[in-house]
Amino acid sequence: MEVNGLILLLPLAASILMVTFPVNRFPFGGLALSVTLAAFLLTWVVDPGSLQANWLQSGNFNLPLLFSIHDLRLIRLIIGISGLVQFYSLFYLSSSANHRSYFSLLCFFTFAMLGLATSTHLLVTFVFWELVGYTSYRLIGFDTTTSSTSAALKALLINKVGDVCFLIGILMLASTGLLSTSNLAPGSAGTLPLLLIFVGVVAKSAQAPLFPWLTAAMAGPTPVSALLHSATMVAAGVLVLLRLVPLLNDTVSTVISFTGGVTLLLGGLLAIFSYDIKRILAYSTISQLGLMVLAIGTGAHASGYLHLQTHAIFKAGLFLCAGVFIHHGVISGHANPNDIRHFSNPNGWLKWSWVILSGSLVGLPLTAGFLSKEAILHDMMTFSASLSLFVWASIPLTALYVGRVSYFLVVKKTESSPLHALLLPALLLSLVSVTWFVAAITTEAPTGWVSIIISQTLVIAGLFAGFRLARISFAEKSWHTNLGLDGLYDKKMPQLATAWGRAGIAVDRQIIDRLVHAWAYITVLFAHLTSWFDRAIVDLTLVGGSAWVVRFTGQIVRVPMSGKVQGYLLWALFSLFLFLVLWLLL
């Protein structure tokens, strides 16, 4: 066994171990954390390479397990963020919660996500894709309350729509033999399979119009939100899209770009109107994913991939910060701890990590977000200037909502409670964000000074507008949440169907009832005639004959009908047996 495989297998082993562990009181969190740490350290030991094993071989059908452990940065990101989330959960989760299943699920999620990120065979990818979906379903519904259960169901169902399309797309690709993503020839697949796969991506990466599940998924515990909506679950769709880049043709690219662009602006707009911190971050995630999809669609996939990684870091950090705010709000006893208007700032460190991470989100210099955002901008300007309008429009929009939220979180006075362990992961992530910038600015520096200056101006203008906007309070309207799509699913469609039903009833009353009355007349007449006939005939035959026959024959059938089902089976099988014996004899 190669060492590479251990990276994948360690989280899986930990997860299985935890589920089967004989003792109930055990520091499961510690176990999970140490295993994740071991896997993380292992990524520095291994040589990049491929893994191959045979999974199924039957006849001429062969399904290999192919994994490529080449992109160690992505693997480190996934494992690292998982580890931080596990660490964070240690303090965040109440002691009464079921630690065993929670941490085993987290480990299993890490495994599934790693498998998804490294597998190079589309069928294998699909298996991990489903595993990721299943685990996220379990995690969203982890607090078994009504709202989180229905949120989990919603996430599962919307994702299933995508999954089915994805599977059909894969099968159609299979017929052209394009399952292994390592040797894709450009333009060799048709349009339809790629579009079907893209529907799967739309659902998984919460693109318009299949994004409502992501905001609903906020019902899960905050660390789970950080895990799902940063590096991992939602990135899965983008990762699959990246694999298929060589196959994309013009039609597909256009569809992808416009979906991404619309999502980018929609997410940003919706984030402006919410007061719920987790919801704002969810919309922001939707918007940023739109940016990545847009970048991939226009051909700027390298910078899109870069943005996927930087986004993973700062979005996970932002969620973990939000978790601290919420935690603080819960402790101080607010009725609605998610509402940003009620937030108070527990600690100066938190403030600074929020500033760095949100700076990364809008793409200020000195943060990793600056690198990826300017790279996308630059690439887009070269590949498709018209489509880059989406990005230009999104820059001030992002700054606007970030500014608005930051006003509530940062400008307020700071209490000085001691540094809580919950803060450490967010601090670490903001540190990584800055270090990344410092380390990469010399090698991956963005070019194009003009666009940098314009975008930075836009960002700063947006931030200030956001500070102003924060002072205006407005009532939340229905379309602010998910653009009224929930209303469409929950209200309009039933109304339509009821109207249809009412129309049917009206026809029933107006037309059929009248026919019925006419018919009733005729039948009464007929009835009088036949009743005389029946009396004469039936009296004669029935009264005399039936009583005797019933008594005589009734006992015959009665025997097996004891009411006991095994007795029935015995009779049935016995008669079958008897039949076979007779058959052999005759």
Partner: protein, 491 residues
């Protein structure tokens, strides 16, 4: 010869599967509706609307895409023939009639209810066209599992008990049948039971395992059509189920099972070359079914239990149509199936309405109820006369075609033929006694009784239409028979 497994084959086949795809879409839509809406009354309206639209669409698609000749799809998993299309249409009619009969009050979970009924419909349509053991078993389970659940979802204690019994009985028999298929595979080396390889293998090496296997498979199908000796589940299940579901069980899965039984028996029969006298065996089974069903029905007091025994006896008559092993026998089967569907539903419709409004459970409860609705009393009388096989109903014509095709057949010896004929006719007389019990109580007994008049509802209209259809089938049997004569049975 194995076809090459290719995705284009699947894609091409889907075009011939539009009715089934429609049903699948309907199932999904109703499930989604059940997730979205929680108000029971509204959910009911939505689900039944979706249900009816789906079934109508599927029916229209079948008629529109009527297969002109036999088409093999999906590497031989499915074979579309006009014989199959005819039975699919019957099955969908049965489902539509079931929906018309269902009542909002007696259904606790509307979305689940209609999903399950529609799943049985989908299973049945696939089952009828199945041509391969895997497809056969999957679609059979698609019929069976929702049926178990429908039974268990029925009213209270009785429903749960009947569900358990039905489930244990059914899944045991199915398991035995699956074992039979695995044995048959060893004898023939293929699961495609209409392929020439299958028939060649069975003709050349006639092993005892092959006979054993075919017996086990036929046993499983006898369970589906509730024929002796695998009929024991039916009375308990029908008694506990609502009238709509009892009517559904007595028609839809039964007709589907029958269509497949016809196909499988023709394959086993090996064009008359099989050393096993399948014709005689089916005849004996059919006689046993008719006799045990009739005798059992004689002493029943509960109306739906009585109808359960009646459906066992009718299964016997339907099996009798398979004895001739020729085209005319199959035509008689098709005619009998259609008439059986109509007459059974006519009877159950009326039973359902009396049960709902006057709380009629046993046969004696019917006494003096004719006054409640003369029209319905007449409808049920027509339906029961048709079930006996007397003029002036389609039931008479059905039995006439059946016995005449049996008489002109050569598949069994003349003596045996005579015996079957006499026993069958004798049983028709026996049937007179229990079927006419209900009209007897309705019209003759307790005539002073002045029951509340039944309200006129959709159910009433439909039952009157069904009764009219029975009368039309007597006067103008050519309408249906002309259509049936155009279908040919190809293996």
């Amino acid at each position: 010869m194995q076809e090459a497994y290719s995705i284009s084959e699947v894609k091409g086949g889907l075009a011939y599967l539009l009715p089934e795809l429609t049903l699948t879409a309907g199932i999904l839509l109703i499930i989604i509706a059940g997730i979205i809406w929680h108000n029971k009354s509204r959910l009911w309206e939505i689900s039944i609307t979706l249900f009816v639209i789906t079934v109508l669409m599927a029916g229209v698609l079948i008629v529109y895409d009527w297969p002109q000749n036999s088409i093999r799809l999906f590497f031989g998993f499915i074979q579309q023939t006009d014989f199959a299309a005819y039975f699919k249409l019957l099955v969908l009619t049965g489902c539509a009639l079931t929906a018309g009969m269902s009542r909002k009050k007696s259904v606790e979970h509307p979305a689940e209810y209609f999903t399950l009924v529609l799943s049985v419909a989908l299973g049945s349509t696939l089952f009828i066209t199945s041509n391969h053991a895997v497809m056969f078993l999957l679609s059979l389970e698609l019929i069976s599992l929702p049926s178990y659940m429908l039974t268990a979802l029925g009213r209270g204690k009785g429903g749960a008990e009947a569900g358990l019994k039905y489930f244990l009985f059914g899944s045991t028999v199915t398991a035995v049948m699956i074992f039979g298929w695995s044995l048959l595979y060893s004898a023939t080396g293929t699961f495609d039971f209409t392929s020439s390889a299958f028939i060649d293998q069975l003709t050349q090496n006639a092993e005892p395992t092959a006979y054993l296997a075919s017996a086990l498979i036929i046993a499983g199908l006898l369970f589906k059509v509730s024929a002796v000796p695998f009929h024991l589940w039916a009375p308990d299940t029908y008694q506990a189920a609502s009238a709509a579901i009892a009517a559904f069980f007595s028609t839809v899965p039964k007709l589907a099972g029958l269509a497949v039984l016809a196909k499988i028996l023709l394959a086993f029969h090996l064009f008359g070359q099989s050393p096993v006298p399948f014709a005689a065996i089916v005849g004996v089974l059919s006689m046993a079914s008719i006799t045990l069903g009739n005798v059992g029905a004689l002493r029943q007091k509960h109306a739906k239990r009585l109808m359960a025994y009646s459906s066992i006896a009718q299964a016997g008559f339907l099996l009798l149509a398979l004895v001739p092993f020729d085209q005319s026998g199959l035509h008689a089967l098709q005619f009998y199936s259609a008439v059986y569907l109509v007459m059974n539903f006519a009877t159950f419709y009326v039973i359902g309405q009396f049960e709902h409004h006057q709380n009629v459970q046993t046969v004696e409860d019917f006494s003096g109820q004719a006054g409640a609705s003369w029209a319905l009393a007449l409808v049920i009388t027509t339906g029961l006369i048709a079930l006996i096989g007397l003029p002036p109903t389609g039931g008479f014509m059905a039995k006439l075609f059946l016995f005449s095709s049996l008489w002109s057949s050569t598949s069994v010896s003349p003596t045996l033929r005579l015996v079957f004929l006499i026993l069958g006719l004798l049983n028709t007389v026996v049937a007179l006694f229990y079927y006419l019990k209900i009209p007897y109580y309705l019209f003759v007994k307790n005539r002073q009784n002045t029951p509340n008049r039944l309200p006129w509802e959709l159910q009433g209209v439909l039952s009157v239409l069904l009764a009219l259809a029975l009368l039309v089938a007597f006067v103008l049997p050519g309408l249906l028979m002309g259509w049936i004569n155009k279908t040919t049975f190809v293996l």
